[in-house]
């Protein structure tokens, strides 16, 4: 394909991959996080296709779409706010009955009655990370710099739901971001400082056929080791997840 097409596709897919991964970390809704990560992984699969690894691209999509769907189900099961009510998406009128999982939702439902007469009618702003920071005008939190969200008397905008801290990230976000940035920057510098060779030409091959043959001949040990790992993992997961 022509260089223009190739570069366009590459840039689109690379942006998709990076943006998807980043949006996953910043969104408040767990379900959206799963969908964004799925989008990121599919963009990476697209990059694999650009690199002529069609079988690996298909396997990546198959595994990660299914995997992310299962992750979403588990997140909904175990998170207190999987739908992102913090974002202002109201939970349905049936309260939180529909969110499966724990008893704590039933506790929260009863306590919400008490919570509503706590707040008065004035519009107050609070920091999502530090609920004790209050202000009458929008702006930035003096402690962490995050944008202040309005409190509306219900659970929107307040990171505390009945004393349960609902923040997605904890207090060490700044150092974590710095570490992540340094790790990425170091690798990036290493990558860009070398003089990499250009790509050799590629014969037209049938990935499935070749990978299949290699797995069963030259790389039989890798194949068997992977199989043992999968079986062990499956059995272990079933045993761990069993109810006593």
């Amino acid at each position: 394909m022509s260089p223009a097409v190739e570069w366009t596709l590459f840039l689109l897919l690379a942006t998709g991959a990076i943006a998807g991964a980043y949006r996953m970390l910043r969104t408040m809704s767990m379900v959206r996080a799963g969908i964004f990560l799925m989008g990121s992984f599919c963009s990476i699969a697209g990059l694999f296709l650009l690199l002529s690894a069609d079988l690996i691209a298909a396997m990546q999509i198959m595994m990660y779409v299914g995997g992310m769907l299962v992750m979403i189900v588990f997140m909904v099961m175990m998170s207190p706010d999987p739908g992102g009510s913090m974002m202002g998406i109201a939970p349905p009128e049936e309260e939180m009955d529909m969110q499966r999982g724990s008893k704590q939702h039933h506790d929260m439902q009863g306590d919400r009655m008490n919570q509503s007469h706590e707040s008065a009618d004035e519009k107050q702003y609070t920091c999502p990370m530090h609920p004790d920071v209050r202000s009458d005008s929008p702006g930035k939190c003096p402690r962490c710099g995050m944008k202040l969200q309005p409190t509306s008397g219900a659970e929107h905008g307040v990171m505390e739901m009945q004393g349960m801290d609902m923040a997605m990230t904890h207090e060490f976000t700044r150092p974590a971001a710095i570490i992540g940035f340094i790790a990425g920057a170091v690798l990036l510098a290493a990558v860009l400082s070398f003089d990499w060779p250009s790509a050799p030409g590629l014969a037209n091959f049938d990935s499935g056929l070749i990978v299949g043959k290699e797995l069963l001949s030259r790389y039989m040990i890798a194949f068997e080791a992977a199989a043992i790992l999968i079986i062990t993992g499956m059995v272990g997961a079933v045993i761990l997840g069993r109810r006593e």
Binding site: A14, S102, T169, T232, L240
Partner: protein, 103 residues
């Protein structure tokens, strides 16, 4: 192939950085798992890029990527199983609250 190898490696470096940020900063245990998947994907991208640009006729690169994919899958399964266990005991999955092993 007009896109240089460095471009793919740069993308995977950035993804690695994002993954590290996610693993270290997220409170929900499932989000930590998902960020770990991002890191593994960055490694897979690296592997396939090197396979294509350095030794495209030797399929060891693709086999390696398959093994990484397998490991990622198993890790996700076992991680979720452990998480379910912890959730059943402690009724929550925020990593800063379950930082101490008890009983």
């Amino acid at each position: 192939m007009s896109v240089p190898l460095a471009a793919y490696l740069a993308v995977s470096a950035v993804l690695f950085g994002i993954g590290v940020f996610g693993v270290l900063s997220q409170r929900g245990a499932v989000m930590v798992l998902m960020s770990a998947e991002v890191i593994l994907n960055a490694a897979m991208l690296n592997t396939i890029a090197f396979w294509r640009y350095r030794a495209p006729n030797d399929f060891a690169g693709q086999i390696f990527a398959l093994v990484i994919l397998t490991i990622a899958a198993v890790e996700m399964a076992v991680g979720l199983a452990v998480m379910v266990m912890i959730y059943r005991r402690r009724k929550m999955q925020m990593v800063d609250k379950i930082a101490e092993l008890r009983g």
